[in-house]
Each structure stands twice: as structure tokens, then as C-alpha cells.
């Protein structure tokens, strides 16, 4: 008898990704869908894809979805979650979406302690528009809008979202992972599960930042892209759990009830 050890998650539609070879989005989609399957929440999950490469996420996630204008995912997710508090609501965002145009929406959703999850893809560039400088672009990193490399004096510094968001009172669970290695993918899956569970247990705002490859705009091979995350991007954006108040929130909840 053969044992199935790897197959397409049920929540992932059978469809060919439009993502470039080596892109991290498809990996994150997959592990998120695995979590949705394992938690048995496909029927109660509503996702909010962003403007960006992942705008077509509704072609892949087999859950209810509604597209948000650029950066507005957390506002829309807040509206959905407040209306349907028993659903699992997540906003899927890129670095430009979250840390530039939608910083206010993301920050304040976290500060209100909205019981939603943000899956935040940090690949240090604007991917869909062709590799422009993002808020998370590294110093001296060359992009189409920082052709000589990002200079702090002109362009400011890479924005450290997890470090900032972990200071926000309303945030319960904040973790940064990377999908550049099999171990990293496993950790990412665990983090998404933890975030969704945080939401399921009504413990408040959760966010998982994921360092993710963009070989096309980085102009690197897929293998080198993974290596660049491990050697460079991951040094600027250290991995780990930045905030976990799930236990405290649970205790508070129990004390109240």
C-alpha cells in the first residue's frame, strides 16, 4: 500500500500559477491553504487579496475572497470581520501595500486589535509594477527607481514592520519568517497556523511577515534568491516571534468570563 505524503491542499484550486518561477507567493499560498485544510476552516474563511502580484490570489485560494484597493486590505478586512465575527478573515499584502500606501490602514487595524490576520509578503521590491523601490528595499539595493542603489539620505531606511507593529498595543501575535528554505517554509506554515488560531480564539490582531523571493526583479536565479534572503535580507530583517501575547489575552479573556 502506498501512502500519500504530499498532495494539493483541498483549499488550493487546481490551476497553474501566474507567478514567475522561483517566486515565494505560490509557496505561501500553498502553506496557507494547508493550514486552512488542517484547521477545517475553508467554509468560514474570507480572504482579502491586495493590489500587486497576489491580486489574482482568488484564482488559487478556494475560499471566499474580495479584492481591496491598493493598501486598503486591513480596512476592508475590519469591515468584514466586524460584520461576521465568527469568520476567519485575512488580508494578504505586499511590502508596498502594507508599509507604504496602506501603512495607516494596517497600523490602525492592528491598534484597534481587529481580530484579523495579515499575511505580509516582504520581497523588498514592488513586484507587479516591475521592480521599483519598496519601503523594505535594502540600503544600496538597486531597483528601477533606485538605479544607483537605495540611499538613506534620499530614500530613507528599510521599514521594519514587525519591529514597529510589535510596539502596537492592539497587536497580539507578530512573527517574521522566510520561505527561502524547507525549514523556513515549515516555520512559515506553523506561524500562519498560530496566527489563524489566535484569530479563531478571538485573541486579536495577528500578522506573519514572510521574506519571500522575487528572482525576476532581483535579477537572480531562484537558488541565488533563496541564498540572498538567508545571507542579506534576513540579516536586515531578523526572523523570529516579535510579539506573542496569546497566553496573556487568553488569561484576560478567562478572567473576564
Amino acid at each position: 500500500m502506498s501512502k500519500i505524503i504530499y498532495q494539493r491542499p483541498e483549499s488550493l484550486k487546481q490551476r497553474i500559477y501566474h507567478y514567475c518561477p522561483g517566486c515565494g507567493h505560490s509557496i505561501v499560498h500553498r502553506v496557507a491553504c494547508e493550514v486552512i485544510d488542517e484547521m477545517g476552516i475553508r467554509g468560514i474563511t474570507i480572504g482579502v487579496p491586495p493590489a500587486g502580484c497576489a491580486v489574482l490570489a482568488y484564482h488559487y485560494f478556494d475560499v471566499d475572497m474580495i479584492e481591496a484597493p491598493h493598501g486598503r486590505g486591513p480596512a476592508m478586512a475590519s469591515g468584514i470581520k466586524r460584520s461576521l465575527p465568527d469568520r476567519i478573515v485575512f488580508s494578504y499584502q505586499g511590502d508596498g501595500d502594507l508599509a507604504a500606501i496602506g501603512l495607516a490602514e494596517s497600523f490602525h487595524a492592528a491598534n484597534r486589535g481587529e481580530n484579523i490576520t495579515i499575511i505580509f509578503i516582504n520581497n523588498a521590491v514592488y513586484g507587479m509594477t516591475g521592480g521599483q523601490m519598496a519601503p523594505t528595499t535594502m540600503l544600496n539595493q538597486k531597483t528601477t527607481t533606485s538605479p544607483a542603489g537605495r540611499k538613506q539620505i534620499l530614500d530613507g531606511y528599510p521599514v521594519k514592520v514587525c519591529e514597529i507593529f510589535s510596539q502596537i498595543g492592539g497587536a497580539t501575535y507578530i512573527e517574521r519568517c522566510a520561505v527561502s528554505s524547507p525549514a523556513g517554509v515549515k516555520k512559515t506554515k506553523k506561524a500562519i497556523r498560530k496566527a489563524f488560531e489566535c484569530q479563531q480564539n478571538k485573541l486579536g490582531f495577528s500578522m506573519v511577515e514572510i521574506l519571500s523571493m522575487c528572482p525576476t526583479n532581483w535579477k537572480m536565479s531562484s537558488v541565488d534568491s533563496c541564498k540572498w534572503i538567508d545571507d542579506v535580507l534576513g540579516k536586515e530583517f531578523p526572523l523570529g516571534v516579535f510579539k506573542d501575547e496569546t497566553t496573556e489575552r487568553k488569561n484576560e479573556e478567562e478572567a473576564h468570563s
Binding site: M65, I66, R72, I80
Partner: protein, 352 residues
């Protein structure tokens, strides 16, 4: 139902809640703060009522878009500069066919302008306002009773046509107090198939405005157009006041129409027979109905609290069949009825 005395901003809030609005998001801006405050206090008292003070107008419109997709009756409100910020979301709601009510308590502009009553947002409201090929239904109430009635109706139209609907009032309407009777709301009719609640055991749905294939996008544009065309043909509203024996007709809406009525009363006391044509829906503009008036009356004076915006719709409607003059007071200046009557006398004299 008892008559109650309330201010315009509070009336909109009360009418919305009675109409079943259960989600409101807003951001402070004068002269509509009383509406946001009314919702903060009262919507939460209604079963399932949700209020969020958003971090921006942009967030507010996207919050109501999300709640609308999740099946609630939703509203946001603001004043001119804030409505400019909401346009991205209004365009998106039009594209995604999400119902919702947006209230604009207009102030002087452009830019930050001032906080006085104005009608300078007519173009923005009636031409869609945001990017892309779409329309929003726009109501221009002129009394507190109409604020109540049209706010309630706006929710029904938003559902019926799955589109954002705008209430275009101004600082005067928002602050004014008048007795009002709240009518009984109609039961909501909205098809569950348009609502996202999670797929359950069924097929998942997605709501989107991004349509990359131009042929598909074109089809979506024509689909929206056909909807707007039905609205245009069926949903216009207007009032004719003393036009039967009128020598000339003032065309005005909202606060300007109230002032015009006062002016007409004074003109008639001096044996000058003036009438009023008052569009109640600003989009669709009641153009055929205005043209019908021009079959017997050949002189029209458009009065707006702007430099002349509805004026263009009047020209389009009358198509050169009648003479059109214009009087405008932009920037928050509000003439008295007596002042307007004097202007009308002078405008008539000049031509006779």
C-alpha cells in the same frame, strides 16, 4: 408616527438606522460631525449595529465596502475634502457592484475651502467622482423631511441596483432643524448570492474589479452602463413649483432651491410670475422633464451656490430650445431670498 424636531445631520443618522443600516464608519470633518457622533451613540444601540471611527476617509469607505460585501446595510459620511479621499473606494464599490450610502455635507472649496454651505461638489457627485466609467445615483434633498425620506430610499436604491448612492446636502441642510416624520422602512430585498459569508460546503466566490482581459472589461463596462441606463430612465425625481403660469423658471436644487422658493414668493407679491424646477435626483438629472417645461416657458434662470455646474446639465437638457441665464454664489456665500428676488428682477429687466 410622531413628528420630531431634529437637526439635519441627526435626521440622516436616524433615518439610516431605521432603514436598517448596521455598519457605519466615518472620520471627523466639519460640517458633518453631528452625523458621525449620532451614529457613534445610536447605531450600537440597534441590534448588530457597528460603528468604527476610522483612521481616514479612505479607510472608512473601504470598511463599509467590506461590511457591504459581508451583507450589511452600510453608510459613511463626510464633507467635500473627505469625499475626495473616498473616491478611490466609491469607484471600487461601483466596479464591484457593492451597495452603500455615502453622505456628502458639502462645504466651500476647492482645497480646504471653508466650512460654509456650498454646492461646489455637483460635478464630482454626478460625474462619478472617482476614476473609470461609472455613475452614482445622487439625491439633493432640500428639506429635513426629504433628508429622512431620501436617506431611507437611498438604501433601497443601493440594494436594488447594487451600486453606491450619494446624498448631496450641505452645511446648511446638516445644521438646520425642522420637524420630521420618519416613514416606515420597506423590508430589505437583497439577494444572498451577492454576499460573502465564507463558502461553507459550497463553491467559493470572489468579488473583484480587476478584469485584465480588455474584452471582459469592456463587457463589464457595458453591463454597468445598461444598469445606469435603467436608472436614468426610471429613477429620476423632481419638483415643479408654480410653473403653470410662470413667465420664467428658476432651476435650483437643495439649499439653493429653498432660497429660490422664498424669492419666488416675494416676486409673486410684486406680480412677477416666477416658478421653480427642482431636481431631486441630480443623477439621473430629470432632463426630459425639464425639457417638457420648456415647451411652454422659454426663460430659465439657473441658481446655484457654485460658479455654475448643474448649469451644464440644464443646457444639455434644454438643447438651445430656451434662454438660460445663471446666477451663482460660490465659496460658502448664501444669499437671502430677498437678495435673490432682487437679482431675478434685475436679470429679467436687462432682457426686456
Amino acid at each position: 408616527m410622531n413628528k420630531v424636531l431634529m437637526s439635519g445631520n441627526n435626521i440622516i443618522g436616524e433615518a439610516a438606522i431605521r432603514a436598517g443600516c448596521r455598519f457605519y464608519a466615518g472620520y471627523p470633518i466639519t460640517p458633518q460631525n453631528e452625523l458621525t457622533e449620532y451614529m457613534a451613540e445610536h447605531i450600537r444601540q440597534a441590534e448588530g449595529g457597528i460603528f468604527i471611527q476610522s483612521e481616514s476617509e479612505i479607510a472608512a469607505i473601504n470598511m463599509i465596502a467590506g461590511a457591504s460585501a459581508a451583507g450589511l446595510r452600510v453608510m459613511t459620511s463626510s464633507s467635500s475634502p473627505g469625499i475626495s479621499l473616498k473616491q478611490e473606494g466609491i469607484s471600487s464599490m461601483a466596479a464591484c457592484e457593492l451597495p452603500g450610502v455615502i453622505v456628502n455635507i458639502v462645504r466651500g472649496g476647492p482645497g480646504l475651502g471653508n466650512i460654509r454651505p456650498s454646492q461646489g461638489d455637483y460635478f464630482q457627485a454626478t460625474r462619478g467622482g472617482g476614476h473609470g466609467d461609472y455613475r452614482t445615483m445622487v439625491f439633493g434633498p432640500a428639506t429635513c423631511q426629504e433628508l429622512a425620506d431620501l436617506t431611507m430610499d437611498a438604501f433601497d436604491y443601493a440594494d436594488k441596483y447594487r451600486t453606491p448612492v450619494m446624498i448631496l446636502a450641505d452645511g446648511m441642510m446638516g445644521q438646520m432643524m425642522e420637524p420630521v416624520i420618519f416613514k416606515k422602512p420597506k423590508p430589505r430585498q437583497y439577494n444572498e448570492k451577492f454576499v460573502l459569508r465564507g463558502a461553507g460546503t459550497g463553491k467559493s466566490k470572489f468579488i473583484h474589479g480587476l478584469i485584465l482581459d480588455p474584452i471582459d472589461m469592456e463587457a463589464h463596462n457595458w453591463k454597468l452602463f445598461r444598469k445606469y441606463d435603467v436608472i436614468k430612465r426610471k429613477e429620476f425625481r423632481f419638483e415643479e413649483y408654480l410653473t403653470d403660469d410662470a413667465e420664467f423658471v428658476i432651476v435650483a436644487y437643495g439649499t439653493a432651491a429653498r432660497i429660490a422658493k422664498g424669492a419666488i414668493k416675494r416676486l409673486r407679491e410684486n406680480n412677477i410670475k416666477a416658478g421653480l424646477f427642482r431636481p431631486i435626483t441630480l443623477w439621473p438629472f430629470p432632463e426630459l422633464q425639464l425639457r417638457a417645461v420648456s415647451e411652454k416657458i422659454k426663460k430659465f434662470i439657473v441658481f446655484e451656490m457654485s460658479t455654475g455646474q448643474m448649469l451644464e446639465d440644464v443646457r444639455l437638457a434644454l438643447q438651445g430650445y430656451a434662454e438660460i441665464q445663471f446666477h451663482g454664489r460660490p465659496g460658502g456665500a448664501v444669499p437671502t431670498p430677498a437678495e435673490l428676488a432682487n437679482v431675478m428682477v434685475k436679470m429679467c429687466d436687462k432682457n426686456d
